[in-house]
Symmetry: C2
Subunit: 115 residues, 2 copies
């Protein structure tokens, strides 16, 4: 479940250029805590696929590789959002059908509350 989500999050966030360490922080804050060892291969793969591009910034005290989403990457991002929304709706349909979304049956029998 997580791999596609990370790709979508990265393509979304890198519509504003950023570098690995900053991305890790932002992902963590958003609730998608990710390890360097997970993020960096994803960044390299997405760049290889032409969905990200990168540029070294050597103006600071240490060089940083800034990534940004390309036009192709943005098209993929939009498609992934649509896919995510469709899957989300489908899951809600399934969970509504079985009544498992908000309640695991614990309160299905009101008399069980008195025991």
């Amino acid at each position: 479940m997580k791999r596609g989500v990370l790709q979508l999050a990265v393509l979304s966030l890198l519509r504003s250029p950023s570098y690995g360490y900053d991305l890790l922080n932002v992902l963590g804050t958003a609730g998608l805590r990710t390890e360097e060892g997970t993020l960096y291969p994803v960044l390299r793969r997405l760049e290889k696929e032409g969905l990200l591009e990168s540029e070294w910034d050597t103006s600071g005290s240490r060089p940083r590789k800034y990534y940004r989403t390309t036009d192709s990457g943005r098209a993929v991002q939009v498609a992934l959002i649509a896919e995510w929304a469709a899957v989300d709706r489908a899951l809600v349909n399934v969970l509504d059908r079985v009544g498992g979304r908000t309640n695991d049956g614990a309160d299905a029998d009101p008399e069980s509350r008195s025991s």
Copy 2:
């Protein structure tokens, strides 16, 4: 993205016993169209892991293998729902941050509408 979703959907739906062909229909109706060749290995794997159990029904014109979610399977289902909800919230956080959820920037510049 899809594999975890299918597992969650199957564990949810099989809280009421059902068989493969019926599941395919229900998944399709919910918006998770799935091929036999995808679903059946998932059912077998989940059974092997003890999350589903099965029983042949030979009372009809043709034998049918009914699956149902075990207690372990239900515990996993509940955990997966929580995971799904957390990932969902995280993605909404990310997309809100970049403003990419409802708008791909097409209307960001009002003057572009007149061109």
